[in-house]
Symmetry: D2
Subunit: 342 residues, 4 copies
């Protein structure tokens, strides 16, 4: 029997992508859909690509509306999830697609988000060491940020294998949907088409402590992260170019072996054949992660590059994958490794 | 038991899109994959978005390779399908995604394609009047062109209802994948990004006689078509803006009623609510067709606009839809009306 | 001695493009720059591409600020120009880049704009018959709309020559800058990239009466216009695909002769060699207009297609060109026919 | 009196951009234009944006055609410049836009380019320490690569000031025109739109030794460079994100002071106000360089980011700037710091 799922925040990009996936998920029946400023509107006007739900009307995000579901997804602005989650019983699976419960360190949270720390939930990145165990049977899931998903998957094998120095330099390009649907001048099509630009430079992007948390756990020591995000002229996709000094004795072969081992049984991560590099277009609309690594001998650095769809594996697909584990379903249910290209 | 399907021309855009759909089709098992200049290569290098098929090797397009399948899809350059089809037995379902068997009029074929007419097969646009009946149990299917799919669906209800004069003016914008994967200077990203340009102007585009054939059949008289295609800076999608003088007495209400009637039971065509207009992004990767109509009273013209994904409903999705009918499967099997957006 | 020019509305796209051109204009000294909600900000934060003006601070749009200039450009929202213009003396050249003074028919104005008609100023499209004479020595100029510029230039030669029937069908694609810089959800990069969509369908777009006014004047009789604008995934450019039934006896040769005659001495209009078609990329950032025509014999229609940059020839370049004439300067001063491509 | 300039390789992107600039250059008269496979064709068919040159016919690249010019620009494939340059007299200013004469180290050249080293010419990046002196009166100029231009300008002030450790990590995104006009499948619009992908990863990109050469000269010691280029979905532009460990005692203030000093008198380099970051759209079609720096205290790294137009400052604009110096003209003649945006 299908589990009944509600989606709070169904009018945004994360909510829309989640609904796209849930519509094809055999174990889920879509229940209440809510949206604050858009409550009362039909979904067909807000998410015109979701034809089967075109006549569904958005409700307000209230405890009453969200009651009576097996799973509640929260696609709300940062800082709003805790209040809603409190009102949902301990038996409901709550999947938070916001940042509220990702960080373990309250001081980090307060420094980067500027409000009180709500707590820490099991972290929804199954591919990390111990990742699946943390999610099995859980009733609370913190879905990772899109950049931390791409970066952690690109680099953790090097840290787990102990072959990278604990100072990572990361430059990532993201499609504009990562910035959300609220209209701002710098996100206008006229501004972003034909333009690459950085933002949040110098260690101030909120996803930085999350990367540090994941990579430090893999390394068994604190990993320092220099992270520069850039906005790319495309709707979706993250390309994360990550590097770190190689530990003594690393070779191209030992590097590749570490990655082959890390991803050998992963249903969604594809270590590409040597010589082929990730492209965001190849994972468009898919839950797949493409990874490739190289050892730059002259610079003595490991270069690890990953491509994901920021809305799928980076948000809604990752949420569904973790939900599947929590519900005891096959982890790949309702998810695909097939991109829409060209 | 699943039908076994071969795909001749698996390295191109039409072949790739077909494989994307067949991978999710519960009634199809993917058999031989062929490609001429790419024979011997792994599909992972040519279609990196199709991860589950990454290690499949392309064979040459020979009768032996294509033998032993229930369905054979031909995604070959125009003029090459007939020779291949002849070597496949009458019990094999052959679905031609090229132009070879679309036109009924041999003179039209010869004028527009410059070679001998190979014949006419049942036409794979189920939504047209009599369209499904022609496909049921058929062993040969001619998949329509992408522009004729968009244009015929936008205009046939007006002609069937007798409310449009038989002179249609059509301007359509297509994504670049419609021009194929063979590299040509004018299709370089540097050239097409930021640019709109027409081509095949003045009645010379090969899809013109196909539109005339479809609309004339709906109208019961010869419909004259002025068709101007334009190349738009996007990978996928067709937006067809079609108009014709209104017959005497047409009103906005009678126009809308004609379209509501035509599409009432269509699983893939969505007549949008009044005031909402089609967008190619909404049908990205989906088999859906979005249609809207308006009556321009001052100009006394009917304006009908459709949006499709040229590779899905316009090519590979249309092929699967017609195959489903021919095989006696549910028409929507393996197809979706959900787009990938934003 | 250079004329001193003020720009009211310097923070928007039209104002920014105007400043880009004026910076290279040898006869103009840039004076006051104003912006309402942005008053007090440096231009470098609002128009980061205009480095030489980066430290200029925007003033409020008041009579005092605008006083003491030889030329005042108004790049204001529709309906706001008249009030500002009234306060400028009769000896100041006022160039309105808004719609307020374009239409001659007050009823048309009120129907399409919903407010009282402010009047009619000399119309800034020098290439139209009598266009230059109307501008020479004028102290008031109404800059045409971007679509009417592209459409009128594509079609007036056919109407002047009496070779087209008075019912024109126009489908035009515009880059997103035509929709302005005010942030709206449907203009987000995430929404527009990869998408073509129509708007203002059915004769309701405000540029329709302006096209009718221009083409009717050329034809010497009322020309009926069916106009469908579409939004294209590019920042700039308009491609206007225009057609009309041919008058009796028209041939490809007589059609071409009419266009050659109309544009023989035009410095900014290029009738392309036969077989070459306009592309918006070729006029990017330039004041040039590319035009091509064809006679579709089967449909008996004239097809005329033009490409312009909507911000240059379609707005700010057209404004400068008309200003040059009004000031008695060489018409091409400060303007270029060279596009930025690829 | 204007100098007469020939352009060998006028049909490609570098040649086209050079002609765009030379057309507005008051000190240059455009002489012979050559192109190999395109010899005999009109430029209007190959570079449709250069209307004033539309009727010019391309000649073959022969000594006779190039004779009799004051300046000869070579926009030829790598490895072809030396043979042509030899046939031009010592009094002709030869500006090589290819790579042939950039590197000082013959072994580096041979390792990265796989052929014999032709020599080393004065290097056309005036902003580097000693850059202008090397060009004054020179009759030979090696125009820098596009990536080395962006990277060297972003990082040399830190090395000159001795505030960065000699290990730089660089990730740069380039528009597709950097890959040239020769049609290849992975450069098709269908492939590049919506996609970010890396290439030449692991220290193998040919521009790496050029960066090392420039940065090492600034640092006075060998600088190690890890360089990862990525292809971005835009026609033009490079965004270079560069970083290095800070030397002991660096602060945000001392970092900024170093950059202010380095660029204080540079006509084309703009160190943006604090808090504003470069965007490629802001330098579209311009010779300007936008630079911004930040000190990431937690990671103890200097982050320096630059944006250029790869075809303008990165190629043809840089060539004109260096030519101006060599000819004794004002360095900014014919060049602009104004971008075409949005």
């Amino acid at each position: 029997m299908a589990a009944r799922a509600a989606v709070a925040g169904a009018s945004g990009y994360a909510g829309g992508e989640l609904l796209r996936l849930l519509l094809s998920h055999p174990g889920i029946e879509i229940g209440a859909l809510t949206g604050n400023s858009n409550a009362g509107q039909k979904l067909g006007a807000l998410q015109p690509h979701l034809l089967p739900l075109a006549d569904r009307v958005l409700a307000e995000t209230t405890p009453g509306v969200l009651a009576g579901h097996d799973v509640v997804f929260l696609a709300l602005p940062h800082g709003q999830s805790a209040a809603v989650a409190e009102q949902l019983g301990p038996d409901v699976l709550v999947v938070d697609m916001g940042a509220d419960f990702r960080l373990k360190d309250a001081a980090d949270w307060e420094r980067f988000y500027g409000c009180a720390h709500a707590g820490t939930w099991p972290y929804g990145l199954p591919e990390l060491p111990g990742g699946r165990a943390a999610l099995e049977g859980s009733k609370r899931i913190a879905v990772p940020g899109c950049y931390p998903t791409a970066v952690s998957l690109a680099l953790f094998p090097a840290y787990t294998a102990g072959i990278a120095e604990p100072e990572a330099v990361i430059v990532a390009a993201s499609g504009t949907s990562g910035a959300g649907k609220a209209p701002k001048p710098h996100l206008l099509g006229s501004e972003v088409m034909g333009s690459m630009s950085p933002y949040g430079v110098g260690g101030v992007h909120r996803h930085t402590p999350e990367m540090i948390q994941n990579l430090s756990a893999a390394a068994g020591e604190r990993v320092c992260v220099s992270f520069t995000p850039t906005l790319a002229p495309m709707p979706r996709g993250i390309l994360a170019t990550c590097s770190a000094k190689a530990a003594d004795g690393v070779t191209g072969d030992s590097l590749r072996a570490a990655y082959e081992k890390a991803f050998a049984d992963e249903p969604f991560v594809r270590l590409l054949p040597e010589g082929q590099w990730p492209a965001t277009a190849s994972v468009y609309g898919s839950n797949a992660v493409q990874v490739q690594v190289a050892y730059d001998e002259a610079a003595d650095r490991i270069i690890a590059i990953s491509a994901i769809d920021n809305l799928t594996k980076g948000t809604a697909g990752g949420a569904v994958q973790s939900m599947n584990i929590a519900l005891g379903l096959d982890e790949t249910t309702g998810l695909s490794t097939i991109g829409v290209a060209p």
